[in-house]
Symmetry: C2
Subunit: 307 residues, 2 copies
């Protein structure tokens, strides 16, 4: 799947993914009202609004991008109907040929991490049968519990040829509270990065490993350093756009082969219609605004990379 992701990045010339994090505030009224009419102003109605909104976005951007990154929290908040909407979104994006990065930030120990891994990337065995509960291609994993928490994911990834992105340095303002603490002169996130490199050596695709890293766009100097510490790991970069990252900041997240990073934007794309820059599209054509924002983002990043 890492080979597949890379091939799709090469084909689209777009090292980006679109974060499908549909807060209700982002969803135009005409979609919400229709969904509420059909299902009620309840969890089911919200879930339908989310799916309809996502499908509109996917229809307008699938040909431009390699991958989408649904943030499961935004679905989980709507309970069971919300998670059904997550699955519908994943299935629809897969139909369109997109790689699915489930932003789930799970992480536990031993058999518990295994259960998450099986549930999201693999198949759970029930009697003589096996089933997929959720069906992403990659998921994000929290490393705080150490190898015991991460390796069960890698074991499932090996069977399924799927991958993970381990949180190394996150994009948020307080990410430094623990991640930046120096130990023997090195911040904690570097220790995590070294482990990502080690874990990845054990599960390689053609040129890159199946074990990637999350490094926020908001800390370019750190990105540069981490790129070198994990040369074989793909870096998933959140924080572009709404959180402040720009293409010019991200050059050093890439390797010299022009690969090695995939930059995510969520709000900046899916709620682009709310920005002055795209207000010609209006709420009715929110998906057209998303397409324009994707094109601009690709241009910004490729321009910075000089490709």
């Amino acid at each position: 799947m890492i080979n597949n992701l890379i091939n799709k990045i090469k084909d689209t010339k777009a090292p980006i993914c679109v974060g499908l994090d549909p807060k209700l505030d982002f969803i135009p009224d005409h979609i919400k009202n229709k969904a509420f009419e059909a299902k009620g102003m309840n969890l089911e109605g919200a879930a339908k609004a989310v799916v309809d909104f996502n499908k509109g976005i996917i229809d307008m951007v699938w040909d431009l991008i390699p991958a989408v990154k649904p943030q499961i929290a935004m679905y989980e908040q709507f309970g069971i109907p919300g998670l059904e909407a997550f699955n519908e979104t994943v299935a629809y994006a897969r139909e369109k040929g997109l790689v699915i990065i489930g932003d789930i930030k799970r992480g536990d120990i031993g058999s518990t991490s295994e259960a998450y891994a099986v549930g999201h990337l693999g198949k759970v065995t029930i009697g003589d049968n096996s089933f997929s509960g959720f069906e992403e291609d990659f998921v994000t994993v929290n490393p705080y519990l150490g190898s015991d928490g991460v390796k069960p994911f890698i074991d499932v990834c090996k069977e399924e040829k799927k991958g993970i992105f381990v949180l190394v340095k996150t994009s948020n303002p307080s990410s430094g509270e623990f991640q930046d603490r120096l130990s023997d002169g090195k911040p904690i996130y570097e220790y995590v990065a070294e482990m990502v490199d080690t874990w990845g050596a054990d599960h390689m695709g053609n040129d890159y490993s199946y074990v990637g890293a999350v490094v926020g766009a908001t800390y370019p100097e750190i990105g540069k350093k981490l790129r070198k510490l994990m040369p074989k790991s793909y870096i998933l970069v959140p924080g572009y756009g709404a959180q402040g990252g720009k293409g010019a900041d991200l050059v050093d997240y890439f390797n010299e082969d022009g690969l090695g990073a995939i930059v995510n934007s969520s709000r900046g794309i899916i709620a682009a219609y709310k920005q002055e820059k795209y207000d010609v599209y209006g709420e009715a054509d929110y998906a057209g605004a998303a397409r324009a924002a994707v094109i601009d983002m690709i241009e910004d990043i490729n321009g910075a990379l000089g490709v």
Copy 2:
């Protein structure tokens, strides 16, 4: 809810919770077969087996204990039907008056953590209405992203009078890889503990804060130290029993008031019937074995505490 939890611990004289982590291997064949006959050998059948098994346990232990701790990964692995089983389990335990600690180990940033908090502890607003997607009383939270990831949970907890347990030092063998790294002479988990104390000061119940900590039973010396660093925080202690912790190891996790810790056992209770010690009960009376194991666990801990 922290006051409620403490009152229930006092009433039952049992500073413990039962981990409802029903792997299919733990569930007796007669329950699985009946569930598969009713629903099929599929996700729905597995989910029904889980609920039936849990109800059997709850029926036999609810009068002895203050709380249960369902581990959501064990449900999530069965997809949507699994999470419906999670909700059914939570609802059934609540009917029996038990406090629900959702072991979800979520953690993200800003509005994303808020979505998890709203989904599990609060209510999500949809138009003019609000709904609970999942409905625990406490959840566990991963601190790797810092205050940005934790505070949204606390904000929801304040509104709902609910609480969280933040991972400080986990019970697994590799927990030290990052948690034990020394920074200025102090391990990372102490920095997290200090933040737990700070966060908790902002959301106090009568005697304890609504912000607790997870500290594994397998590191008693660390438990003793952390107890003192977070005097107002309840400590949720995993790792008792199957992972090796014993009552005698846990004395220093408690404060001098005899309160301040709640010890979890999962496999040691729910799969007690598989232990030689309880094999008189057999598979048919797995719940009787669980009750006996709960009584022994309470005796072990209270004996060590000298109460």
